[in-house]
Amino acid sequence: MTSTSSGRYEQLLKDYQTEYRPQREWSEGRGFYLIVGHFLVGVAAGAWLFGLFFQDLISLLAGFVLAGLGGLAHLANLARPERFILMMLRTATSWVSRGFWGLTLFLVGSVIYLPSLMFTDTFWQSDSVIASAGVAISIAGSIIMMAYMGFVYTASKAIPFWNSTLHPVLYISYALRGGAAAYLLSLAFQGEAVAGGSDILVFWIAVTATVIVLWLFEIQGALTSGEEAAVRSVHDILAGRLALYFYVGILLIGLFVPVFLMAGIIAPLSPTLFAIIGLSSVAGDFFMKFSSIKAGIFMPVRLQSGNTRRATRRRKI
């Protein structure tokens, strides 16, 4: 039995005394695992799609393993993980439930497809009906996985900073950027020629540019939303408690380092450079997700000005 002197209780009371309360539910304690989980399943879905497109077994395996780890991280986020199976019940309205199905479909599809590539003599062939079904199921699962995270945040009405309708597109773009980075790592691991990777570098640049544009729109949307909580979230990222993660983690590690290396300024492109580019890109993505989730601030509950004089009823009584 824990007493009220536990740090978390003190923190809770302190938070409730402030007008702009930072969300800790999905970023601290077991909530940190949700950030890890969302990061991992995003990269997993991207790596899987790139693996399928380029028929690259290492990317496919990486996608499968990362998705499994992401699933475990999602479980670790639950206060009652033993009841996880109940999460498949509410697909009609809940994006968390849909995400659960997406991950399940992905894992089932990849378990069907991967043996056809790895043990060609033991199981079905990669062009068989069974393997094709596995591919189709896994693609459906990965698309849901990429999209669901953004929708989960958009549905969180208490956090104005997350309410942007661009969030789902942004998370899909992150996943594709993560997939490109995973493929670069795979090429590096295989010692592949630089030529094989230049296309993917162009893709990486395009998807990174998309992420930047979407993110700027989000920031602009938050600043002009009229929600003070959203404005504070932006301030926290750019000049407050999360600024270090933003400038070092996102900008320096996730953007400048890869771009600098791609330009071939330090050394000509090589598998090692590919590996560093891939790693710094995924690290940047992690910091991006970490800071935007951690930046969430609850909207304050209060009487709005004019509220006390004006009836705002919507229904007839």
């Binding site: 009652r80 509410r90 509950v301 509220n307 009836a311 919507r314």
Partner: protein
């Protein structure tokens, strides 16, 4: 039938009676508050004033907390519109806490007691510890009391009679009349949740 509440801000004196009676009635653990009173300071000396805003779950007609719940643990009672939680189904994902624009959901994350090393009091053993840990909790308009014909504990214990409880679907009920006659308003209607708790202007 749609249960609703009206809180008269002109009558509320910020005594925290509702908050305490709710704690006593529901045996909520430390860190879980079904009813709270927000103290708001406005303006500057010499025209500064303190306003009190009692808050609780609004039992919204369009509750985002129910929509986001992946297990169906959060649900609406069809017969009276009360938004409730089935603790046996809750996985503690906390999605509903981030979906509720009114911050009316609390995670009972670990066993706690109010008196430190002294351990749980007999009251806490009997009332607080019956609640599951690792699940989210919130006000359910004292549904058991209401089904027995009583008012919620916060309504019954408000010393200034600032709280009224009744059927919002009945145009002749006191709550409907007060909203109509005194321009009752809900909190944050812009969130599209259609709350069933109304406030009368101070």
């Amino acid at each position: 039938m749609r249960w609703g509440m009206v809180i008269d801000l002109k009558r509320c004196i910020g005594c925290y009676g509702c908050q305490l009676s709710c704690k006593a009635e529901n045996g909520t653990p430390p860190g879980v508050f079904f009813a709270r009173v927000h103290k708001q300071e406005e303006g500057q000396y010499p025209t500064a004033q303190t306003t009190f805003l009692p808050v609780l779950c609004n039992h919204c007609d369009d509750p985002p907390c129910v929509d986001v719940c992946p297990t169906g643990a959060s649900f609406v009672w069809e017969d009276d519109g009360i938004v409730d939680i089935d603790a046996d189904k809750c996985v503690g994902c906390r999605s509903c806490m981030l979906a509720c624009p009114y911050s009316q959901r609390f995670l009972n994350d670990e066993p706690r007691n109010y008196y430190g090393e002294q351990g749980a009091t007999p009251y806490e053993e009997a009332r607080v510890q019956r609640h599951q840990t690792g699940v989210v909790m919130k006000c359910n308009f004292c549904r058991d009391r209401v089904r027995n014909g009583q008012d919620p504990a916060c309504v019954e214990n408000c010393p200034t009679i600032a709280r009224y409880f009744g059927d919002l679907d009945d145009p002749k009920s006191e709550v409907s009349r007060l909203i109509r006659e005194r321009s009752g308003f809900p909190l944050h209607p812009e969130k599209g949740t259609n709350p069933n708790v109304y406030y009368l202007p101070a």
